[in-house]
Symmetry: C2
Subunit: 329 residues, 2 copies
């Protein structure tokens, strides 16, 4: 079925996310089949997967040798059975409709090998509900990566109450072999970790714009060139450690927490936008950004690839301990 | 007094932040004098400023020619009058004690030229209160940059109710000439924009750790390699535009906001930590990070400089419009 470190992968669902995961696995030379019950999607999806593999190579995010034959080797499933039958790892990339996904997972399980692992790729649903129709929920787990999934390295793995620990560990090992940075959550929480953080940032930014403190273009610049740049090289707790200096973390954190309490008590706390606020937000976004999303994504991918390269770059002045990388001191 | 584009700068306060601003201005060849009422600080501060200028050059964040004579040209003020008398721009980098800063600003105003602009560098106080003892509050404004101030490009400028608009514009122009990215807030808000965003991120991370969802080392990795990496190349609103694709922003945002409402309603909303929670947070930080803060900062600066270089790099494949940079499409 697979050689252990390189399972045969079936990607079920040929939308944007499924294509990204297919491109990622192919770019590392892993065997991939792609299937979608909407068979009309598949030819276009196969072309785009090929494009995305080439883009990964162009961006320096894939080994050209591994990626070379990749798009030719993509198998388009003629049926769910054809796609899944031999797979060691099945990635559920179907749209975010709970009951449709539950049925789809049930069908996948019926045609998959007993040892296959099913991973649902979603940031809005969890294994506890998705696995409702599965006979072997212990072989199912949820994973979540930000867009573009083939470039962003972080992948959160969220086991459900039934997920077998060895399944979680196997998925973690496979993702690490795909050059991802897997992080396992101890339990299911709405939004997972990265979705919550993004939601907190966006709410604060919307609030600052709607309250007239800063305009929308500027708030995006503030985030990118301020907090995000700083946090990309040191997470928020490491940032405190660096702030502490010789005072020691306990003394420093006493002061830092006190200063933060004043800010925390004033942060946005609303849970939804009124119709008028939503309208104003949409108008502000429309006034600010005019380029085609597809073009913006190409540019974003390029800068993101460079950013990741900069954080990894081993061509470092000699005094730097090469084993060190941001957030892993 | 100065040549307009390159004012003579007086930095008042020789602590960590004052040294950073002095290093930044010197590294661009601007004339700088440094003063602190605690005169014992000054010799050590002068050495560190020199070191930080050299580090900026080593990191590729300063022009070696401009920076070459910089540390030799730093003037150590023998008195407040000596430091401030000829300055066009006075940077108040005194510690965060409101009444002490008010008195210090009053003294600065008494010895400064009538045309001098006073900028208080702080993330926790605003011009409306800091300028209480000033005769010319219209020539005073607040500015806030994240640490390390000589590397992070974002500088928020926060005018007070009395600040003259031309003063704000002059400060913005000077900061831009120092290769900063200045963003002007329309009014004073607790924490300013970047402090609020950082506070929102940290609260969410503390919550995830204290609730046992993810451990502290992992949550820092999640932030750095997930949301922060993504947000460094595209602010949260631009991220939505890219997500929208061909659906159009209005349709997409309807869906995106609905999905976010489920997350917003579950985000952390506490304003302070209990003694026990604070204790657990400190222990978790101590268990995770053992390196010396000074070493961590050196490594952080290096990665941050590379990250900024990656986002600016003009050595781009030919098809990329070179005028484009993240968040400025």
């Amino acid at each position: 079925m697979d050689d252990g470190n390189r399972p045969r992968i079936a990607v079920i669902g040929a939308g944007h996310r499924g294509r990204g995961w297919a491109a990622l696995a192919l770019s590392r030379g892993w065997p991939v089949s792609l299937y979608d019950p909407e068979s009309t999607l598949l030819q276009r999806a196969a072309r785009e997967v090929g494009d995305r593999v080439r883009r990964l190579t162009d961006l320096g995010r894939a080994d050209p040798l591994e990626a070379a034959g990749a798009s030719a080797s993509l198998i388009i499933g003629r049926s769910l059975l054809h796609a899944v039958g031999e797979a060691g790892l099945v990635l559920d990339a179907m749209p975010a409709d709970l009951s449709a996904k539950q049925r789809s997972l049930e069908q996948i399980e019926q045609v998959a090998g007993r040892e296959a692992i099913l991973v649902s790729l979603t940031g809005t649903m969890h294994a506890s509900s998705l696995s409702a129709r599965l006979r072997r929920p212990e072989r199912h787990v949820v994973a979540y990566a930000l867009d573009p999934v083939e470039i962003v390295q972080l992948v959160e793995i969220i086991p459900g109450p039934h997920t077998d620990r060895t399944v979680t560990e196997q998925v973690r090992a496979w993702f690490a072999a795909l050059d991802r940075l897997p992080v396992v959550l101890q339990r299911e929480v709405v939004g997972n970790a990265s979705g919550r953080i993004l939601a907190a940032v966006w709410r604060e930014c919307i609030d600052l714009v709607l309250e007239g403190v800063v305009d929308l273009a500027d708030v995006d610049r503030v985030v990118s060139r301020g907090p995000a740049a700083a946090l990309a090289v040191a997470g928020p707790n490491l940032m405190q450690v660096m702030g502490a200096g010789s005072q020691g973390i306990e003394y420093y954190l006493g002061e830092a927490l006190q200063a933060h309490e004043a800010v925390w008590s004033r942060l946005a706390s609303w849970h939804s936008l009124s119709a008028d606020e939503r309208h104003r937000l949409i108008r502000a976004i429309e006034r600010t950004y005019h380029d085609e999303p597809a073009e913006l994504r190409v540019q974003r991918d390029r800068f993101l690839a460079r950013l990741l390269g900069a954080l990894e770059d081993p061509r470092v002045e000699s005094e730097l301990d090469e084993s060190w990388s941001p957030d892993e001191p």
